[in-house]
């Protein structure tokens, strides 16, 4: 796809990602997270990964965000009351993050294939669901089932942790 | 039989913990051990140098690790020493108010460990058995010790723990410095391999240094000695007897067993260092001892000082000096045990060991005075006691080392200084004896009771043992000498400390041709 769109979505994703961190109000953070994820799914699409892009929208923008907002409402957490920011921590954290970013970028810079463009595909990948599905059910059968176990455990956990006993 | 010797005290300790009558069981066990040890000594064929009564259970064939026990002329002496001192120590235990069973169990545990260490031919168990004593010592000092028991217990335990891990490194390095085919935990195998000069010289130096430091800490070699007096001052008398009398000898035994036979090159290379350190033990610590103000500290320091003589014998690296060292080890073990035992009794009666507060006690406790006198004069090497036999052999052995007529080398100087050390030890020992037992007596001691008849038995046991060996040292010599003749006959005549001859030794003495550099020693 055109660089133009890529940059649009990239900037969108990153800015709203930043917004998540910068917003004082959790609700605002949640919403900006949604937007950032939408941009992200668009980037996925731009990489011909339609299935991933779609479940990204479904799962995150759909399920997870709702969960977040639901919890926020449940605990009615409003704007983080203005404690004075611990500047040392702030600066330190930012510094660490920046250094990490720089390091990664330098690695990317030395990474040969990072300079190359994406090779063209033989056919369009609109049917990638089929491919992924086949992989998932043949090759990745075992991990797939274990993911099931994981979800089960998570369910038990959630029930256990959030159940309130009869007083 | 050897197995019985090792496990009789340990089993007895277990039984006591399970609630058997403490004192009776302990006495019975230690007496049994003593009897068997005596029989073992008598039944040993002193003519031949290799181990006898050997039993072996394989533990790990691929590491050539096996639980092998046996005794030769050297180790049987140590076992005998251990059993005698154990018997005496157990006998010296008076009334214990808290955890009586635990007390006896700890004692027996220590002695079992010591005997095990002396009697195992396998490197691993040789090390492991000695470590058995660590926790019992910690508990003995910690629970039943006197005034600054806490600090003393911590210091001795941590210090010895670190020391024994350094030692462990040394042993590992020793094991690895052999070429693969001859790697084994069996000391006999290692020794024959070393005899063929399979350890590269540089390897020998490293290993010897590690062993020296590791064992040195256990023996309280000069800079590493500060744990000893404090611990012995704080420890209850029987514990002090066992530790100073027997456990300390483990390190020396190790040096004699491993370092001397297997690492001649290392021994030569570090000879001068060792000399300096042991002079530190003899002269420096001797002076420190003179300045002590309490009997128990004085005894502790004196035991540190006397290690110097044994080190001198070991450093002399000739059959004469080494044999002397063995005899002196035995003698010192007995005499220091005797002294600590009597001192413990004094503390029990008077509640203090300050020189300023004691005096003239021989008036009210003549037997104690007599016994302590025996100990004192044994310690300062009066002829007739085993100590003298050991010391004189050490002096002769050390003095002949690298002798050239008309000029002194380091060994001669060391020997002369060590002789002066004898004067020093005379000074502090006699002063202590005079301030404690002679002179005018204070009122509050007028009513002290002498040692009970029961206590006279262990004292007599120790003294008699000292005198027997002192009168007929040949008994020990004939058993020990063959072990070391093999190793020193080649070198002891050519060895010297003047660098020129040392070079000559490195090239001729141990043939590098057989031991190419880094074989079994290079990285990976």
């Amino acid at each position: 796809m055109s660089p133009f769109l890529f940059w649009i979505f990239a900037v969108l994703t990153v800015t709203f990602g930043a917004a998540v961190v910068l917003n004082r109000n959790p609700v605002a953070s949640a919403l900006s997270l949604v937007v950032s994820f939408l941009g992200l799914s668009a980037l996925f699409m731009s990489l011909d990964a339609f299935f991933v892009g779609i479940i990204q929208v479904l799962v995150y923008a759909g399920a997870v965000m709702v969960l977040f907002l639901f919890i926020i409402m449940l605990l009615d957490i409003h704007v983080e009351e203005r404690r004075r920011i611990n500047w040392v921590a702030a600066v330190g954290g930012t510094g660490v993050a920046v250094i990490l970013l720089v390091q990664i970028c330098v690695v990317i810079g030395h990474f040969q294939s990072a300079r190359r463009i994406f090779p063209p595909l033989a056919t369009s990948t609109t049917d990638d669901v089929w491919h992924i599905g086949r992989l998932l059910f043949n090759n990745y059968n075992l991990p797939f089932q274990i993911i099931g176990v994981l979800v089960l455990v998570a369910t038990i956990g959630v029930v256990l942790l959030s159940r309130r006993e009869p007083r | 039989m050897v197995l019985f010797l090792i496990f009789c005290p340990i089993v007895a300790a277990a039984v006591i913990m399970l609630g058997a009558p403490a004192r009776k069981t302990a006495l019975a066990a230690s007496f049994l051990t003593f009897a068997v040890a005596l029989f073992l000594f008598a039944s040993l064929d002193h003519g031949n140098a290799d181990f006898q009564h050997v039993t072996s259970f394989s533990i790990s064939p691929e590491w050539r690790l096996s639980f092998t026990t046996g005794v030769d002329g050297l180790s049987v002496i140590m076992v005998l020493l251990a059993s005698i001192v154990t018997l005496a120590a157990v006998w010296f235990v008076g009334s214990i108010e808290r955890y009586e069973n635990a007390f006896y169990a700890c004692l027996l545990f220590i002695s079992g460990g010591a005997i095990g260490a002396f009697a195992s031919i396998d490197l691993f168990f040789f090390y492991a058995f000695h470590e058995l004593a660590l926790i019992p010592t910690f508990l003995l000092i910690g629970i039943w010790g006197s005034e600054n028991r806490v600090a003393a217990a911590w210091k001795i335990t941590i210090y010895l723990a670190i020391g024994s891990f350094i030692l462990l490194l040394g042993l590992i390095l020793l094991y690895q410095s052999f070429p693969l085919p001859s790697r084994s935990f069996d000391i006999r195998v290692l020794r024959t391999a070393a005899g063929m000069g399979q350890i590269a010289p540089d390897a020998q130096r490293h290993v010897y240094l590690l062993l020296l430091i590791g064992f040195g800490i256990l023996i309280s070699l000069f800079p590493f000695h500060t744990w000893a007096p404090e611990a012995y001052a704080a420890a209850p008398a029987p514990a002090a007897m066992l530790h100073a009398g027997v456990l300390k000898k483990f390190g020396l035994y190790g040096l004699l067993r491993l370092a001397i036979p297997m690492l001649p090159e290392g021994a030569h290379h570090w000879a001068n260092l060792l000399i300096v350190l042991l002079l530190g033990n003899i002269i420096y610590v001797g002076l420190v001892t003179i300045a002590q103000k309490r009997l128990d500290w004085m005894l502790g320091y004196s035991s540190v000082m006397h290690m110097g003589y044994i080190f001198l014998g070991i450093a002399s690296f000739g059959v004469l000096g080494v044999t002397g060292a063995v005899v002196l080890m035995f003698a010192h073990g007995l005499s220091i045990a005797l002294l600590f035992g009597i001192a413990g009794e004094l503390r029990r009666r008077t509640g203090t060991l300050d020189f300023d507060e004691l005096g003239g006690l021989a008036r009210v406790m003549p037997f104690a005075g007599l016994a302590f006198g025996f100990g004192v004069f044994a310690a300062i090497g009066l002829p007739g006691f085993a100590n003298f036999a050991g010391e004189i052999m050490i002096f002769f052995g050390a003095f002949r080392n690298g002798w050239e007529i008309g000029q002194f080398h380091i060994f001669q100087i060391a020997t002369v200084l060590a002789l002066w050390g004898v004067v020093l030890s005379t000074v502090y020992m006699l002063r202590a004896y005079r301030t404690t037992f002679m002179g005018s007596i204070r009122e509050q001691w007028q009513t002290l009771a002498d040692l009970s008849p029961a206590l006279r038995i262990p004292v007599t046991l120790l003294v008699v043992a000292l005198l027997c060996v002192g009168f007929l040292p040949q008994f020990f010599v004939r058993g020990v000498a063959p072990i070391f003749e093999t190793l020193t006959s080649a070198k002891s005549d050519t060895q010297t400390c003047s660098p020129g001859t040392t070079r000559h030794l490195q090239t001729v003495g141990l043939s590098r041709e057989n031991a190419p550099h880094g074989q079994g020693y290079s990285i990976r």
């Binding site: 990474f111 990745y140 991990p143 455990v153 038990i156 | 808290r98 955890y99 058995l132």
Partner: protein
């Protein structure tokens, strides 16, 4: 003829059965569940000894490209099973505490899950130790992690526990993120996620080693988090202290051991890169120093054990650095025995007095058995001969000396000295100090058996280590 995968399936089925019973058979004594689980696991453990290990060839696809059933895997499956059994036994002792945090609820509320979850964790561990593909590693790791989230914060009426749970969750999620990112980079630079094929493709990757290394570092971050290696140990003391004690034991043994297995598997392809070796070296050094030194001033036994688990991670890392798998494995076994021993005693004693070291004063009088058990545990942790702990250290130091890791060896010896100090503090409390309260402490039959078994095992392995060493002979 049973095959390896059946074990996990059996464990999973067992777990679900327990859940079912918990859900539908409401009013039974929930301890029955624990006994059932223990017996089940015991059977599985027994069965695991009839497995025949299969060597995993490099070019297989499908199931066997994720799942290795080699000796290492089988051994650690048994390891995980044993750990879980012992932890369940501890949980029975701990049940009163759990109940006390569900005020006025139906008797034994939540105990069912408390028994069931470890089973799933165990299955996760068993998968993890035989995972040879990053995808599978990720999934299995997550199963373990998520179940631990729940376990750590199980007694959720206890604010401490909640705090511990939160800290564990956040930091562990953080490490997960790094894991994924790392996997992404490794995949990106080599195009492979299977470890064996990785080895092949790394050989000709050449130029892109930078990217691959970045991936390795990120993966190491995640694994270092699991094995509590400095600088990712920060969570350990708090979480260990706050979590329910059996869970702490489980964390410190199960997840650490699995972490080390994965570490060994993952490092295999990368070990020939000098940078990796240097990395491990630095981590090991820091871990040794931090774990041992910071433990010195501790007064809370649980927290002390947390620091000691960091310290032991340090010794284990020496083994990993020298890539002496057998040393690492033996050390892990010894670590399992002695740590679980200490925790078992701690659980029983803590219910009577508390978790502070000073709460152990005069234990020798109150319960000689427990005191002796603790003595053996501590002595073995400190590394005294004739205990498994010593042999573990011996093998580690042997490997280190063989490879001339002078710095590590020196630091190792010093830290061993420190170790003696803080482990003997406990012995001191039990034997020197005397406590006003001298009424005996009850020990129920099962845990008495378990503790005795652990003592015996610790000493036997200390004298005759061969069985463990043979377990991995080819």
């Amino acid at each position: 003829m049973i095959t390896a995968p059946l074990l996990e399936i059996a464990v999973l089925v067992l777990g679900m059965l327990i859940l079912m019973i918990e859900a539908f058979a409401g009013k039974i004594d929930k301890r029955v569940l624990a006994f059932a689980a223990i017996t089940g696991l015991a059977i599985v453990l027994l069965a695991s000894f009839f497995l025949v290990p299969s060597s995993s060839p490099a070019n297989v696809t499908g199931f066997w490209s994720f799942y290795a059933a080699d000796r290492l895997a089988i051994f650690f499956k048994q390891f995980a099973l044993l750990t879980t059994i012992l932890v369940l036994i501890m949980m029975i002792d701990y049940a009163p505490v759990v109940r006390s945090f569900f005020p006025g609820a139906v008797p034994h509320t939540g105990l069912g899950e408390f028994v069931a979850l470890p089973l799933f964790t165990c299955a996760g561990l068993m998968y993890l130790v035989s995972a040879i593909d990053f995808v599978f590693i990720f999934v299995a790791l997550e199963v373990v992690t998520v179940s631990f989230y729940v376990l750590v914060s199980f007694t959720r009426r206890n604010p401490m526990t909640l705090e511990a749970g939160t800290k564990y969750l956040i930091l562990s999620a953080l490490s997960t993120a790094f894991l994924v990112y790392g996997i992404a980079w490794i995949f990106g630079s080599t195009g492979q996620t299977n470890l064996y094929r990785l080895t092949a493709s790394l050989a000709n990757a050449g130029a892109d080693s930078g990217a691959a290394l970045l991936g390795v570092v990120f993966v190491l971050v995640a694994l270092g988090f699991k094995i509590a290696a400095v600088p990712f140990q920060i969570w350990v003391p708090d979480v260990y202290q706050g979590a329910p004690t059996p869970v702490t034991a489980y964390l410190s043994v199960g997840s650490k051991a699995a972490g080390f297995v994965v570490l060994i598997r993952v490092l295999q392809p990368f070990m020939n890169l000098p940078q990796t070796e240097r990395l491990i070296f630095v981590i090991a050094l820091l871990t040794l120093i931090y774990g041992n030194l910071a433990a010195l001033p501790q007064t809370n036994l649980k927290r002390l054990l947390a620091y000691s688990s960091i310290a032991h991670a340090g010794y284990l890392l020496i083994g990993v650095l020298c890539f002496d798998v057998r040393a690492v494995i033996f050390y892990l076994v010894a670590y399992l025995l002695m740590t679980l021993l200490s925790f078992a005693v701690l659980i029983i004693v803590a219910q009577q007095t508390g978790e502070e070291i000073s709460d152990f004063d005069g234990l020798a009088k109150r319960s000689p058995f427990l005191a002796f058990a603790m003595l053996i545990g501590m002595v073995s942790l400190a590394g005294l001969p004739f205990t498994a702990g010593f042999l573990g250290k011996f093998y580690i130091f042997y490997a280190a000396v063989l490879q001339r890791q002078i710095a590590l060896v020196v630091v190792g010896v010093i830290t061993v000295g420190c170790g003696f100090y803080y482990y003997l503090k406990v012995i001191r409390a039990m034997y020197w100090q005397s406590d006003s309260n001298t009424d005996p402490i009850p020990v129920n039959g099962l845990s008495r058996v378990a503790i005795s078994a652990l003592i015996v095992a610790t000493i036997c392995l200390g004298v005759y280590p061969q069985p463990i060493l043979d377990a991995l002979k080819h």
